[in-house]
Symmetry: D3
Subunit: 241 residues, 6 copies
Amino acid sequence: MVLQRLDDRKPDELRSVSFELDYTRYSEASVLTKCGNTQVICNVTIQPGVPKFLQDSGQGWLTAEYRMLPGATQQRQPRELMKLSGRTQEIQRLIGRSLRAAVDLKVLGEKTVIIDADVIQADAGTRTASITGGFVALANAFDKLVEKGELEKSPISHQIAAVSVGLLEGEPYLDLDYEEDVAADIDFNIVMNDKLGIIELQGTAEAESFTRQQLNKIMDYAEIGIKQLLEAQRQALNSHQ
Amino acid sequence: MVLQRLDDRKPDELRSVSFELDYTRYSEASVLTKCGNTQVICNVTIQPGVPKFLQDSGQGWLTAEYRMLPGATQQRQPRELMKLSGRTQEIQRLIGRSLRAAVDLKVLGEKTVIIDADVIQADAGTRTASITGGFVALANAFDKLVEKGELEKSPISHQIAAVSVGLLEGEPYLDLDYEEDVAADIDFNIVMNDKLGIIELQGTAEAESFTRQQLNKIMDYAEIGIKQLLEAQRQALNSHQ
Amino acid sequence: MVLQRLDDRKPDELRSVSFELDYTRYSEASVLTKCGNTQVICNVTIQPGVPKFLQDSGQGWLTAEYRMLPGATQQRQPRELMKLSGRTQEIQRLIGRSLRAAVDLKVLGEKTVIIDADVIQADAGTRTASITGGFVALANAFDKLVEKGELEKSPISHQIAAVSVGLLEGEPYLDLDYEEDVAADIDFNIVMNDKLGIIELQGTAEAESFTRQQLNKIMDYAEIGIKQLLEAQRQALNSHQ
Amino acid sequence: MVLQRLDDRKPDELRSVSFELDYTRYSEASVLTKCGNTQVICNVTIQPGVPKFLQDSGQGWLTAEYRMLPGATQQRQPRELMKLSGRTQEIQRLIGRSLRAAVDLKVLGEKTVIIDADVIQADAGTRTASITGGFVALANAFDKLVEKGELEKSPISHQIAAVSVGLLEGEPYLDLDYEEDVAADIDFNIVMNDKLGIIELQGTAEAESFTRQQLNKIMDYAEIGIKQLLEAQRQALNSHQ
Amino acid sequence: MVLQRLDDRKPDELRSVSFELDYTRYSEASVLTKCGNTQVICNVTIQPGVPKFLQDSGQGWLTAEYRMLPGATQQRQPRELMKLSGRTQEIQRLIGRSLRAAVDLKVLGEKTVIIDADVIQADAGTRTASITGGFVALANAFDKLVEKGELEKSPISHQIAAVSVGLLEGEPYLDLDYEEDVAADIDFNIVMNDKLGIIELQGTAEAESFTRQQLNKIMDYAEIGIKQLLEAQRQALNSHQ
Amino acid sequence: MVLQRLDDRKPDELRSVSFELDYTRYSEASVLTKCGNTQVICNVTIQPGVPKFLQDSGQGWLTAEYRMLPGATQQRQPRELMKLSGRTQEIQRLIGRSLRAAVDLKVLGEKTVIIDADVIQADAGTRTASITGGFVALANAFDKLVEKGELEKSPISHQIAAVSVGLLEGEPYLDLDYEEDVAADIDFNIVMNDKLGIIELQGTAEAESFTRQQLNKIMDYAEIGIKQLLEAQRQALNSHQ
């Protein structure tokens, strides 16, 4: 049995996705990423130097920060001061890990890349939008550095994108919005590269469990979504040049 | 002697100002405020209840939070975690105090208004843009509540706006941008209401001092700027209805 | 090609596992869990009351705290004061989520269960040992409450266990020790219930990626390990009565 | 209409002011400053070195810390631990900025001056008393260093003092005490140098606004008060030698 | 062999001690305590209510806070923000415990007494001066409450005082100053009541140890000092009435 | 009058004491110390380098950390995050100070020893068990370093041990358990070396006071207990070799 989605999407259909490059002017690259009503500003900063554990390794580093504006959600959420919530930390670690998989850190050299993903409107899928949009910002930033002659070639080694899949009443649905996310029994986030190699896989069942068969179907849907996101990224980057 | 401004403005000329209402969709009101290259998202949340010191007073409260995205400035600035800088605290106290002067807190009743001013691009004047744009968001939020029947009438008691004036080589300049702000010897922020009554006046001379005559000229310039900002606020609010 | 494991285990062989019940005397239940050289004290506390978001829901709550003794690792690690690392937070959220899947929170009623997982010796797999041993402590605590007449029946709804699988040179290995964990390209943690329904799946590839075929083989190995862990849990709980 | 002041002062009359030099023995200079019932211990410490942003500039720095003893106010106020209130931060930034305007930081050389202003009794005007008394302590500290031969000449470039003026029922009153401060609609703090050049001007109207005419009258009163404070500072410093 | 003390005191001689009552005006009682060059402001606040663990017990509570002004010592000491040092916490716990031994908490009733001991000049013995002077402030505060009719009788049950004794080259010296304190091998703080009953005894030997015989001699000296302090307290309190 | 102890011990009788060496495998030394039902894991880490105040002194340092597992007590105690309680800080300072008295820091050289005392079960006397067991771990760690040739000789200069004595109804009892500790009016902790020289003496009377005669009897009991603990330490260390 297939549920009717509020926005009439088919179960394996993405929300509309767009990337607005050069969104703000002072970062190395700035991309307003929209996945349906979810909107994330992805800014890239590149600084000389690396953390201690990499000094004199010839190798660079990439780290991410993720935050929501207080007004991004339906109920205002207080800012995280004094300590980050476990959720925020998990998400920014995931974004950092995923985007490091897109970069040849040796080609980058002893520089540190900071991806700031600031959600200004949240309709679920903020972490996957941060990764997918963060990749566009990252590639764009490197392109600019190459153009300026500050890098010989772009350190991008893989194109990557991320998407969510959920199970509602046992059936998979691609790219959940907030209403669907709340209703889902099982929630997956999948990060893949341009060869559909899996970079990261996180599936959580709060009250239910899922089978190997369901896992397979979830992966099928993820591949459908990721392929389209990869294409949308390429178009945004190409049309920008 | 009058200095040539980088953007060819006259000494008493404002930067272009605009207000984009309904910028995001989940806050009570959301306004993207642009003053030249300075851009601030002003979101309004209205919650039931008041802080302890006002309980059972029949009176509401308004408070403000101010923050910059890390990538808003020419050099990325780390997020303020663990503690807010003195600068941030001063600014959010100023925004809150100024916007409270726009509201009849008794008409509001025992509700708390939170103004979130998040700077996404900073080219000086972020605190005055937060106040001027915050007023538009505030008035818009109250209009919506009146429309929805949740308030009988808008608690707005005064229209208010804010502008900066600086002294460079002893002469006043209205609405400084970043380059001018760095060069200025004396820096003023002025908040006024629709009758040009002064709400707040802050003038600081790091290495210099200024005379009563200069103070007078600064106030003249402030009045020129405030009048135009008040007019721009009215247009934005009227054209939106 | 299959690598020779340092302790001569086969690729799909678990380390020896044991559970010492009643390890300390003041907690509701206390289990010293050993998976190879990894040792975790799992203590259970049950308190009246629930967090705010569950008040008057008739439903209980379960939460977990995870920490390492400073001397648990080969290099002493400083205690986490002021803030928990992202890693610690991720792990204790995972333990809590996984063990909540073992409990019918309505049968529990408005009580809060706290699982303290304190690692006294760490040879990799501390989070999966915390979950597997945490289940034994949890079931034991409920049995005691039933015996004392404080609960009518045990709120355990599913038996659950957790195990790690890693890919080294493209091949899967079950239940990695520290040396293997450091060498692995891809690292999986899998939580399953007694019907081998999947509760939680987390796979991370720092520098590599993995295929759908590899994912399948990883899940096969996980099932082999989980079955044995479930059996060991049952023996420990039965022999204790 | 002029209100009768509780202590029979005229509207433009200061409270009695005194400076007790060498109040404690271990600081470079220590001055107990009394403005009416407001009492502040102003201690000066001079340390080698400067903050990073000034290293190798040949130039010194001056910073201030402001705090109240818990028993200084009519209701005991808890100590500020974990974070300073916005009010405390604003005040200590104001004290620092104002006293930096009194010092030629190049003559000082790469040293850091710390002004500790600890209020032991608070009857309003604590920030202006801290500045006025802080100047005396600062000048005294430099005099001692010159005497000891550690400085060739005093780095004092300007004498500065600060005073408050408030509007009650639309009329200005100089140097408010606590009862008046609570009653005032508008509250000004003015810092001036020995030529009555204005260093800092802060005027705040919580619920009211004020006119340009009122601003002028406030400045007249401030000049009256500042002149007397400058004279009292000179007497204290001269009689001390 | 007896060492010559810098201020010519005999080994069993106290420094001059004085208590200035009504030192500041807003606390319930305020006493400037001087023991030689050590100066401590002891302020007493009495508030309705008690901590949770005493609610509805009919019994009051007393707690102490201890802090040094940054300029109180020969080298300026940074303020303790974010966390109190172990030393500060030990001292304020000692002061609280000792002064609770002076009060019949049932006679006090459900009120909380806060003793703020703020050291403005430190020449060793600050914790014992805080206790000895804190007692005077406490007794004075209760006397005032009795006078005002807010208490039927003073809750003071014992007069208490505190003194330090040190061992230098194996010989005891009473009431060490800073130079002696640094030189001492063993350091004792003793709190006694008016019958020379011992309330608290803390002896620490960083690098040495001491014998039962030396302990006896230390206690003899402590008794000599305590007797004189008790007498000085009585004189201060009597002459004040 | 002598009270009957719950476990039938005589007033001057210790609880059974044992030391399990090599309790965990990664620390330099690890000792599970049991004093009755009190159980403490004492781990020793030795690191190169010393704190700033000792750099280039040729001398080492020793510091201690003390913590309880949340489930160690009859009521679960929350972990100390953000700040350590005064009690915890006092105890870890005492452990550090006492064990430094056992070590010739010059023989140690510029190394830092960290003693981690983690209480897994608390039945009173946790601080004295941490010191007594900490000494065994410390001596064992040094023996291993000598054996490995990393130290020429053990830096142990004194054997030390610690014990508690309490007064119940005016009579002394050695080595209190939790029930006795709660009932005691006066509580003593005594640290001595192998010549019964006193290292540290802390006696506290919350509501009572004690006499010089009682102090003497307390010291007699302490000597009885310490002698046995010293003997037990020697046996554990000798039988281990």
